[in-house]
Chain length 204, copies 2
């Protein structure tokens, strides 16, 4: 049975817990506290040299890293990945958008606000990051104005990847009120069968 | 015939030109000068609301963005994507590593050095970015110590994604000498059939 190394407050980890819940795949769960450096120990670096959660340990002992690559692995040959070639590429397009143009500006402010001291020099990064976060939300808003989900009018791992940090963006200082299509989409994602919240802790 | 919107000095664009050359797919080419803002015009934003090259216009008028998603689209059902489920996920793992932990720290310094004025305030970002760039090269070095290519001992789009900015990293101030396994891998990638250099301009 696979084992997920994760940290509950991580949106990247939540993506994996959500697809595991929605595809009803059994797994074991080990929580590591990133604030205590538990992902940078020699023991964990031997599992993932990049020192990040989520990391999924497979039955053959392989460790798979990168949340969106794990999503792909767990969702292959399920309805959570589009069945057509263009749909699969568009799904990946939005997942790469999420990691490059969204996560550093929507997730990182939340991390700075929730996990770093009030006098951390990194607080100075907030204005620029939040500006770019609003740019990313603007791109999502314009795409969702005429669509129910990101790809092919159907819920997919592209929605999971973007939902994870978008729905908690206000915790980092991003107001979602100017993005009504994004808000409506968040509601549709939360209404999917077997949805679990980010605070959901699987049995160990 | 697809049309690639690209900028010749972009490693992200080069990934797409390289897979197109190696899979021998015909296409048309339109160069946009990012330094002159040609990717932020209303005309181009209508094609890609995120305002970035490379963007691939397909025969049906769809615009596909994100270099690594375009790689996947163009390489599906070719030997450049692993044939097994775990191999595909590992391929994506390295492509997401490239966009999140490598590109901002290996490619962006090169952009700052080559494209911004010497007195740009962004020059101050260089020390931290180069440090993280060395971290990314260290992760690659440790993986390649016992391997010929990133996934399954076979050249794939994971190698293309990581080659694009790694082989020109010295242009941004990153010395590759401390990474002998990375240097040997760069040589193996450059020796692949139908390899083209980053400066290669396709016919328009």
């Amino acid at each position: 049975m696979p084992r997920l190394y994760d940290y509950l407050d991580s949106g990247n980890g939540y993506k994996v817990r959500l697809i595991l819940a929605q595809t009803q795949q059994p797994y074991r769960f080990t929580e590591l506290d990133i604030d205590k450096g538990e992902t940078r120990t020699p023991q964990f670096l031997a599992k993932n040299p990049n020192g990040r959660i989520p990391t999924l340990e497979l039955d053959d002992g392989t460790f798979l890293a990168e949340s969106d690559a794990i999503l792909w692995y767990l969702a292959e040959n399920t309805p959570f990945i589009p069945a057509d070639r263009l749909g699969r590429a568009q799904c990946l397009q939005w997942m790469f958008f999420e990691q490059y143009s969204h996560e550093p500006y929507v997730a990182t402010p939340r991390y700075i606000v929730r996990h770093l001291p009030k006098d951390s020099p990194r607080q100075a990064e907030l204005p620029d990051r939040l500006k770019r976060g609003r740019d990313a939300l603007g791109v999502m808003e314009s795409h969702l104005k005429s669509r129910s989900f990101f790809v092919g009018e159907r819920y997919s791992i592209a929605d999971i990847a973007l939902y994870a940090y978008t729905h908690v963006a206000p915790q980092g200082g991003l107001d979602l009120a100017p993005y009504p299509s994004v808000l409506a989409w968040l509601g549709r994602v939360a209404a999917q069968p077997r949805h679990v919240p980010i605070t959901w802790r699987p049995p160990e």
